[in-house]
Amino acid sequence: MLQIEGIRKEFSAGAVPVVALAAVDLAVERGEFVTLVGPSGCGKSSLLTLISGLAPPSAGRIRIAGRDIAGTDRAVGFITQQDNLFPWRMLIDNVALALELAGVGAAERRREAARWIKRVGLEGFEQAFPHQLSGGMRQRANIIRTLIYEPSVILMDEPFGPLDAQTRLSLQALLLSIWETQRSTVLFVTHDLTEAIALADRVVLMSARPGRIVRTDRVDIPRPRDIFHLHDLPEFRRLYDALWNELAAQLDGFGRSTH
């Protein structure tokens, strides 16, 4: 579904070019949920920005369903860490934004938005402005305003990062329950190993800068998953330890591969 081939990204920080990503190859299958973890500054977020088409890679190519992607694309949705809701729009119009941009009529897009709002338990807040909502509520709105237009590939950049632990857990469960009926292709960046394992079909670990993919692990925990009790499973523990050892090595030998 999503193929990333030899992606490289350099930034110029002052006079010196910084290599954020060095030759990243990754393939995500249709309907697969892949999480991307790595030490901070390893370029995981940069990779998502490149796939979203908001910035061009320095080298390499990105394909979706066999098609080369240049620039932003209808098939790719991007859910950012900051909710970035439009403060001047009521919740329902924030959620309906993509449909509005696509020229869907007011009544229809509001009906559709209301359906999604209900689905994530925000009914009653349709007319609220973002500043009147809590962080968790805003993040739910941020997620459904992308889901509403059903892009086939959904990129998520630490969407639960700014939330407190309980809210985070309940939103993870909500995301999984939606995804299990939707089965879109998801590439989800996080720095939280627990979250990475709990959500994913596959966990991809990146190295410290310049970012490369160090290892990939399949998560063999059957779905639907009970996100609140995953930690007790031996499979979870085994994978967590393995990933943590690798990550710790990345943190020690900053910029040097141990693989």
């Binding site: 979203s52 088409g53 908001l54 932003t72 694309d73 209808r74 790719v76 949705g77 991007f78 950012t80 900051q82 970035n84 439009f86 403060p87 001047w88 729009r89 009521m90 934004l97 993509a98 509005e100 941009l101 696509a102 338990g121 925000l122 807040f125 609220a128 402005f129 973002p130 500043h131 009147q132 909502l133 809590s134 968790g136 509520m137 237009y149």
Partner: protein
């Protein structure tokens, strides 16, 4: 000018020529916390009752001293008295000539304001989209802005005659730069992340502009419109005062050249009331249009 808790404009507005101590006052007077009304101690700024009582007392003391001191401490020929002015205001309000002058001034002010604000917003929007031209024009606009507009008045009379248009132009130039600089700054300060959200959703650049940039800049634009409104009046009255045959400025000039200080003071008072009313209207419009903005950090947030 910026007071804790009076969240009435972007802080960077301070960089613009500011008439605004007066314009800001009705807002600053808003009680920050009506909930605490009953329990606030008497000399707390949150105590609404004591605040009103103190204000009335203050006004009475000042006016009383003025009234009492007239022809005791100073010559009432030069300073008039509150009572005389009060009576004169009554005379003005029943004089059809006053309403004619009010209408002329209001008309000139309205047209000048519309042209200035419309032009300022339009050019601000245009240059925000067209960075190259904006940079080319930057020093020239700054230079034009730096001209004391009053100094143009003699030329304006030559160019536009002594009718409406010279007053309209004077009002418009004062309004124009305030709205222009703020519109430009407002659009430039729009969070790129919000634009990116729309771009990922396949928004055209026109849609990004209409649905993200313009609404995001709306608080800047509206605030500049609000603070520039008094300048329209300033420009018009200045123009009328210099050369004209009707308008409040003309009326003021007539009184003062006849040494009728009471009449002049009454007109100044009525101008003040006019401006206060306009400010209240714009505050109401602003509050309505910008109702999406948080009123204060303390505002409760929904939990679910």
């Amino acid at each position: 000018m910026t007071r804790c808790g009076t969240n009435w404009q972007p802080s960077s507005m301070a960089s613009v020529e500011a008439p605004t101590e007066g314009a800001a006052a009705p807002n600053a007077a808003d009680p920050a916390a009506p909930r605490r009304r009953a329990r606030a101690p008497w000399f707390s700024p949150d105590n609404v009752v004591s605040m009103q009582v103190s204000r009335i007392l203050f006004a009475l003391v000042v006016l009383g001293a003025w009234q009492y001191g007239a022809d005791r401490w100073f010559d009432s020929f030069f300073f008039s008295t509150p009572l005389k002015i009060f009576v004169q205001v009554g005379h003005e309000l029943i004089d059809p000539g006053f309403y004619n002058d009010l209408w002329v001034t209001g008309f000139e002010m309205g047209v000048g304001f519309a042209i200035g604000a419309g032009g300022g917003i339009a050019l601000g929007v245009l240059l925000a989209r067209w960075a190259y031209v904006a940079k080319v024009l930057d020093p020239f606009l700054l230079a034009l802005y730096s001209i004391p507009r009053v100094a143009l008045a003699p030329m304006l009379i030559v160019w536009f005659g002594i009718g409406y248009s010279s007053k309209i132009f004077l009002g418009a130039t004062l309004v124009f730069f305030i709205t222009f600089f703020n519109t430009l700054a407002g659009i430039r300060s729009v969070d790129k992340a919000l634009c990116d959200i729309a771009r990922v959703m396949q928004a055209t650049e026109w849609q990004v502009f209409m649905k993200v940039m313009l609404p995001a800049a709306s608080s800047w634009i509206l605030t500049s419109v609000k603070i520039s409104l008094p300048f329209a009046l300033v420009g018009v009255i200045l123009g009328e005062y210099l050369v004209s045959s009707q308008g409040l400025g003309f009326r003021l000039n007539t009184y003062s050249t006849n040494y009728n200080i009471t009449g002049a003071m009454a007109i100044v008072f009525l101008m003040m009331v006019l401006m206060l009313l306009l400010t209240m209207v714009t505050n109401t419009i602003e509050a309505r249009v910008l109702r999406w903005r948080p009123k204060s950090a303390a505002e409760p947030v929904a939990q679910a």
